[in-house]
Symmetry: C2
Subunit: 343 residues, 2 copies
């Protein structure tokens, strides 16, 4: 599926129209209505915000995994209340987002009551950006931190062969006079989706991002995807964080480590079958002050020393534009999506 | 105080002897017996483990801050139980470690009962390594994550002037067949203590660590210390993590941001007056499996792909050596410490 910039002909959809179109696609490809709704909204949100590597670009992979029988599109998450501040969910081999959706209200209630709560999701496939999982908590005045492990493609610092996934960390916190402070970062030097996009567009990677199949440094995205591997960001520090993500997302939830599942028997399978951890904090328990006023002050000071852009600013700007003017897709992409919905 | 390698003459002390010596020093310089005990054990542990930048090297700074009346060595932490999973402590303008010590049992009890618990410390001075705060939780089978903000000396990515502190993140998790998995990393490209040691030893810094007073890149540690600033590790990602540390350690606890206190009226003051957050998780709530068995498997696989050393291995090796053979100090350092204890 070419990206919009490859073609002059474009079409414009509203967020609701794109969500409904994606919903029909998921339904046609074997998901339950509940799963279709959650995934469609997630994917449309990424496209709306200009997170192209996690927008409609991902549809092909979602459908291939569903078609291969690798992920269960009909799975009903099983939510367990295991403590005053702990909820765990068996996603039943389905996607992680419906599992979060099923447990969300209970986790929020616990966080507000106990001050903090954990959501441990296992037996789940996460194929999306991580910021859509945490941003809504901040919109309710809560602080959220999430980690998810993925699939072996990252070489631990000092090692010779890949073991970790791209293992992102996402964080969201409310602020008084603007949209939430949100970041979502792979602990690899580059996100896997961005390597795929570079390969598709024929662009070279920056140095220090990856190695080829022989373990040698390369800037060729195809060499990285074809038997090569990624490096961690920030050397041994990024590697330690990636290790932490494995421990929290897999060891703690009961999910698989990034190296523990084998999708080779399911041709087309693309989604990592792992786990996810979300920590939700009620920040106003911590002090007599308003957290949102304090975080606003930090943002003000960051601007004051010359940091012009907050991590999510580009997404928020694109979101405003998309909501005002619609989401622009290439005519080719839209026709392809419509064909998938009609199939 | 020169480091041991500066002189041929050395003396050897047991861990208990060094702890008792440091305890006498703190007592002689105005701390309560309770505070002296906690700080002495913390500082001796760092020296024992070869964490020289946070060992006896720090005594001078501790005493200068106490002498300036900047930190209250007699402060009695005020512990508040504010939720099923939330404890907050007003450290009363004293050190952070006695505040943690005062709240520790309650936090562990809550974590075991609720599945997770938060300890939010404010109005506190943290002048030590962060790993000693988290490692003991892992020795009890718990997972712990801690962040502490410090004092303005780090330029946010894309900014022109410093705002953040070195803002470390520490993590600890139990494993079945070895000492806990522990890491402790500054979110700056280099720890402030390591810059101080480089300056003292006349060594140049690696490129990309800091800027001078004019905001220009420099490898001269003295230029960094004298009006310059540090950079974040891993570019914008390390900067986002440093921002998260400010939000969690200060905005959430009710402590000061790294840029909010002014020690210039207290000549000699060196300790950052901020806050600290610790998240403690009972990992066996998350799955039917033993977390420690699972984390052991991760370590085994990391070794399998060629990562020979775990983040804390060097510390553990030095600890074993120190416990077996004693802690080696230069004769000059020991004489200096003894003089401080007798003063």
């Amino acid at each position: 599926m070419p990206s919009p910039r490859d073609t002059a002909a474009t079409e414009t959809l509203s967020f609701v129209e794109l969500t409904e179109l994606l919903q029909r696609i998921f339904l046609r490809h074997g998901t339950s209505p509940a799963v279709a709704q959650v995934l469609a909204e997630n994917c449309a949100s990424a496209e709306r915000d200009g997170s192209h590597s996690h927008g409609i670009f991902r549809i092909k992979g979602y459908l291939a995994s569903l078609g291969a029988g690798w992920v269960d599109g009909q799975a009903v998450p099983h939510v367990e209340d295991v403590g005053a501040a702990f909820v765990r969910v068996d996603a039943g081999g389905g996607f992680a987002q419906p599992a979060l959706h099923a447990a969300r209200a209970l986790v929020v209630e616990k966080a507000r009551h106990a001050g903090v709560a954990i959501l441990a999701i296992r037996n789940s496939h996460h194929f999306a950006a991580l910021w859509p999982d945490v941003e809504p908590f901040a919109q309710e005045g809560l602080v959220a931190l999430s980690v998810v492990n993925s699939m072996t493609c990252v070489v631990p610092h000092g090692a010779q062969r890949p073991l970790f996934g791209t293992n992102p960390i996402a964080f969201a916190a409310p602020r008084a006079e603007g949209p939430p402070i949100v970041f979502d970062m792979a602990t690899s030097a580059i996100a896997h989706g961005d390597v795929q996009i570079a390969a598709r567009e024929g662009r070279a990677l920056a140095p220090g991002m990856g190695v080829d199949g022989a373990g040698q440094p390369t800037q060729d995205p195809k060499a990285v995807l074809d038997g090569g591997a990624l490096l961690t960001f920030g050397g041994y520090k990024g590697s330690a964080l990636s290790m932490m993500v494995e421990l929290l997302s897999a060891a703690l939830t009961g999910g698989h480590f990034s190296f523990e599942f084998d999708m080779s028997t399911k041709p087309g399978a693309q989604t990592p079958w792992t786990g996810q951890l979300i920590i939700v904090i009620d920040p106003d328990k911590g002090s007599g002050q308003s957290f949102a006023q304090r975080s606003e002050e930090l943002v003000r000071q960051m601007h004051g020393v010359g940091q012009e852009r907050m991590p999510a600013d580009r997404r928020y700007r694109q979101r405003q534009k998309s909501l005002a003017e619609g989401i622009v897709l290439s005519a080719t992409d839209l026709a392809h999506l419509q064909a998938l919905a009609a199939r």
